[in-house]
Amino acid sequence: MISNGKSVAGIDIGSRTTKAVIWDGSAVLGKTLIPTGWSPEKSAQKAFDEVKGTTQIDLVERIVVTGYGRATASFADKAITEITAHARGVSYLLPGTRTLIDIGGQDSKAIMIDEEGLVFDFAMNDRCAAGSGKFLEFLAMTMDLPVADFAELAFASTDPVQISSICTVFAESEVLSLLAEGVRKENIANGVHRSIAQRVAQMAKSLHPQAPGAFSGGVARNRCMVRELSAVLGFEMQVPEMPEYAGALGAAIIALEGIV
């Protein structure tokens, strides 16, 4: 994509974190990630100011926002859904992707992408945090571990226990019972990851997923989740560079395509 020297911004106002990138058509000139907090609009503005400050750009030609808080960012030129944004970002980072899984803070999505990099079907989790990053955070907290340590502990296990509960709160009770029974922590942690992977795969399979697959969103940094998702879907899930920024980058790509 030729930008003619123009720079644009994409901001992904997620339920947990807000991500912003500055993009010139060939490179990410700056990126930032901050907690969304209680005001998505303020977070979006703060993320934009921060990312702009990290670059030498005087003028950002266009801003496209995405994510659950997209409607609140009145300073943006356009708002698009995170489904379209993630598909766009990942199609740029990993061309040819046909099945995209995005696990965010409070929802998870399976997105089907056609040969031209356009969304042709999608599914999202309904009314429930099962299969989301929040589920993972909650269960890590139950085991008194930071999420990153929880993920690494899980990755070390090859014998996951079965977690039957889909409900986050009931899953916590189940984990506490397993701990009380003396089941090894790493096997419980792995079981939690497999439970999420199965939940997400169940949703994805309604769309008849096919390789090549990709995994975006912050949870894609979790290599146990990548392994489990790949296993239950039956094909490898590739993780793009900076997976948590895929939505923001997709928004920026759309911003630039609108002016060049």
């Binding site: 659950y68 859904t81 489904i83 379209t84 042709f120 999608f122 309904d126 009314r127 759309i254 395509e257």
Partner: protein, 347 residues
């Protein structure tokens, strides 16, 4: 007369000068139905029963169920037992409508229902009464068809929300009064200036749907609902009674042959070709499949219905409804669905 399900023969009620009222829910959380309905009964049936238990239909003189699904039947039975109402009647509407025996069978059942209505009103219903009832319903249906015609053009002359208000109000208001209002609307529609963009043309399909907030949201983000297949919409009014000497037989034949609810759509599938014809006639670009959570008849149709849409190259979005719907979460899905159509508008 409170009507559970759209298979109640309103012609016979109107013949007896009785006002048919479709019993619907309120879309509010409630806590009164648990003793009578198990947790996996559909939210619509639960919402309906809640209205009875809360006394919101205390003006009814009677209730009638025409058999369709077991969920609404349980709402009817619980209402009959726990809400004071002078009259009640259960019509054994057959689920097997695709047989020659169906119309004669239903004729017998409707004759029994006519006798019940005669008992309620204290007088015999004559052929003239039945003709009046049939004429009132047929006129109302014909006018709704005429209004729907104005949704077929490049610029639909009314929104899906307005159409929903029209059809659902027709289930509550006196038919002649409702028809008179529609005639006024029909005079104004040709000259109406629509100041909104049509956007993507959608069909909504599913069981009962009177969720105005949802339709309003869909139409606020770049779409117009141009037609529906709901029992609170086209399935209710689509076909008329073909008058004959045997009035009850004619009425029965109308209910046997109407666009079916999934409970009655076997062995041959009548629904899917009918829905595809609606898509063609109304120039539909995409479909929203609205599923009342736990509604077994419609749930069992989701896979073949979506396959039907896929084969016709009509993208579809599946949404599961409860008593209240999470408008914000649904909005993301609807917007993403619409973005699939408007790739050029993305930039």
């Amino acid at each position: 007369m409170g009507c559970f399900c759209s298979y109640v023969p309103e012609e016979i009620l109107v013949a007896g000068n009785i006002l048919p009222v479709r019993v619907l829910g309120s879309h509010e959380p409630q806590n009164v139905t648990e003793p009578y309905l198990f947790g996996m009964y559909c939210p619509f049936c639960r919402d309906v029963l809640a209205q009875g238990l809360k006394g919101r239909y205390d003006y009814l003189d009677g209730i009638t169920l025409s058999q369709s699904c077991l969920h609404i039947r349980q709402s009817f039975i619980a209402w009959r037992e726990h809400v004071e109402v002078p009259f009640n009647y259960y019509i054994y509407m057959p689920n097997k409508v695709q047989t020659k025996a169906a119309t004669p069978y239903l004729k017998t059942e409707f004759e029994k229902y006519k006798a019940h209505v005669e008992e309620v009103v204290g007088k015999e219903l004559t052929d003239d009464d039945l003709d009046r009832g049939i004429a009132a319903l047929n006129r109302n249906r014909e006018l709704m068809h005429k209004v729907y015609e104005y949704r077929k053009g490049d610029t639909p002359m009314l929104t899906g929300l307005e159409a929903m208000y029209m059809t659902v109000s027709g289930m509550w208001v006196d038919k002649d009064e409702h028809s008179a209002e529609m005639e006024k609307v029909l005079e104004q529609l040709p000259d109406r200036q629509m100041i909104r963009d049509t956007g993507t043309r959608l069909l909504v399909v599913g069981s009962e749907n009177d969720d105005t907030a949802f339709i309003d949201m869909v139409e606020s983000v770049g779409a117009t609902v141009v037609v529906d297949d709901h029992c609170t919409g086209t399935r209710w009014f689509w076909n008329s009674v073909e008058t004959g000497d045997d009035r009850i037989n004619s009425i029965a034949d109308r209910y046997i042959k109407r666009p079916p609810c999934p409970t009655k759509d076997w062995e041959e599938r009548w629904r899917f070709p009918h829905i595809l014809q609606l898509c063609k006639d109304f120039n539909v670009e995409g479909a929203i499949v609205i599923q009342q959570k736990f509604c077994d008849p419609h749930e069992c149709d989701i896979m073949p219905l979506r396959k039907t849409f896929d084969e016709a190259n009509i993208p579809s979005l599946f949404l599961e409804f409860d008593v209240t719907v999470p408008i914000g979460q649904f909005k993301v899905r609807v917007e993403a669905f619409l973005e699939m159509f408007g790739v050029d508008d993305l930039f």
